[in-house]
Symmetry: C2
Amino acid sequence: MSSCTPSNRIVRACRRESVDRTPVWLMRQAGRYMEEYRNLRMRYSILELIKAPELAAEVTLQPIRAFDLDAAIIFADILPPLEILGLELSFQKGEGPVIHNPIRSPQDVDSLKAPAVEEGLGFTLEAIRLVQQALAGRVGLIGFSGAPFTLASYAIEGGASRNYILCKRFMYEQPQAWHKLMGLLAEMVGRYLCAQATAGAQVLQLFDSWVGVLSPHDYRTYCLPYSRRAIELAQASGAPVIHFGTGTSGMLELIEEAGGDVIGVDWRIDIAKARALLSEDRAIQGNLDPVVLFAEPSVIRAQAAAILDAMAGRNGFIFNLGHGILPGTPVEHVSMLVDFVHEYAGR
Amino acid sequence: MSSCTPSNRIVRACRRESVDRTPVWLMRQAGRYMEEYRNLRMRYSILELIKAPELAAEVTLQPIRAFDLDAAIIFADILPPLEILGLELSFQKGEGPVIHNPIRSPQDVDSLKAPAVEEGLGFTLEAIRLVQQALAGRVGLIGFSGAPFTLASYAIEGGASRNYILCKRFMYEQPQAWHKLMGLLAEMVGRYLCAQATAGAQVLQLFDSWVGVLSPHDYRTYCLPYSRRAIELAQASGAPVIHFGTGTSGMLELIEEAGGDVIGVDWRIDIAKARALLSEDRAIQGNLDPVVLFAEPSVIRAQAAAILDAMAGRNGFIFNLGHGILPGTPVEHVSMLVDFVHEYAGR
């Protein structure tokens, strides 16, 4: 058995092997809460940052320089893969992402392009290679993709949504076109994740950020087979896969059934309870409420300690937030949390 | 044992007594999806409708005339109780409710008024009396209140919120003021619900609409005692209490611990699973995804049938949506659903 090093710590945790300290990374650890990032954003749009490999690599490395994290996650967004299908994406000031030609009919699905992943998303693959060189084995590197449902919801709604009425209506009323779309997305996501592993990502995370808007019945019928397909394709790369969703407390067994070496949970369930619901052959990642990082340090420490206590003495645990770091989060609290996780776990 | 009549069907279901058909009502059954309601809203604001007992009674009765529902729910809003504490409320076009002097400090909590429930919320109590007369025992009547946490979140955020950062920071960093505020809200909510029962409401529902943004740990520490207090006060009226929240799949046992004769669940958990998680001495209400009502009738029937099948042969079940009816819902689908629940349950 290989020994635990800073660069393979997170991979070992994904595989439920022993580690020298609890690995910690934070979803959206590169982002607006950091001054270094805001400075770059004054000069470049989000898509410019993502599509210039040197800039994406730089943003990826910002939190690695600032905090004692155990993994970098490539700076990218879940939506650019939709562009290679022929959907037109932009980020509007204050309104988030907009798809200008959303999918609204079976014909729209039929006219999607066959996705040329390596060509169309080469900027992120190149950024992964640059980050891997720069990291020189100091910490792990995570690649990621949106899950088929979350991508489909954006493709159909045309942006963020409150109730996902267009998406669910399409799913209910155009099941053939829905399944065709989801099949296409599953293949694309699986190949994209594989390509990231080939480029140098050691761990892959599937983000099903909005899956919690579905009933368990609808998840099983309309989404689970496609998440499973994407995960199986990704796992064929040899890299472990973290399967993350929010609002999944009522259907964790289905998230597990869809697959993943690691199941990521949000803060709406006690991590000990989630651990008990999952099979022993899965690792678990989570699950501090991101808003706790706005509170004073004593509150952050107490809440992080409760999670660490619940997972004490178990392999297969990765400390993370239950969702991404929010803009406005105090940087010094992030630093404090990361150090606390390492020190507390070492007791 | 008294026999089941249309007017006591829902009360009997709350108490897990036998019923002649599955009772059904729909959260926000009076509202924007109905033309009759939109016509009134062209002439009156939401607060005008709520505060004129004759108008509130009229709106309450609109869905009773249109559909074969087993209960009316008094037309009101969860926020007017905040006004009697001295908070200034208005509904802005397109932006939802706004509190103009939100709670931001312990001093703000200290300066809240002692709530004169019967005086300050007399318009809703009078509307209940008018509806009870008009119904003349045809169907049941439900009163309701927002739960302490949901009210506190509006009072602190000053309106709807995405991440509840202000509310949670107040909770974490001003625990004394938080507990004082929640204690005050619990007493007000309990007394308000009791007063509604006295005025003629046969069933009371506590809406903790936003409680799903909390971790189970935070719910237990900062909210559960106050929901319990409000429910105990309400139950002293003799009316059964439905305890409803969304996003509670990961902590249903805590929702039950806080109390309620009936536990209302959203669509993010299979109702059979929720039923299995709850004690036998609780009834259950739910849980069709409101968006399903936008789909074609065959989809609505199949999804409603799955819920009814799961609850077949059990007392203590009230059919409802998992959250309120959405604007734009086709009226004919609502009618069809209500009839389907009665006919299917009768097979």
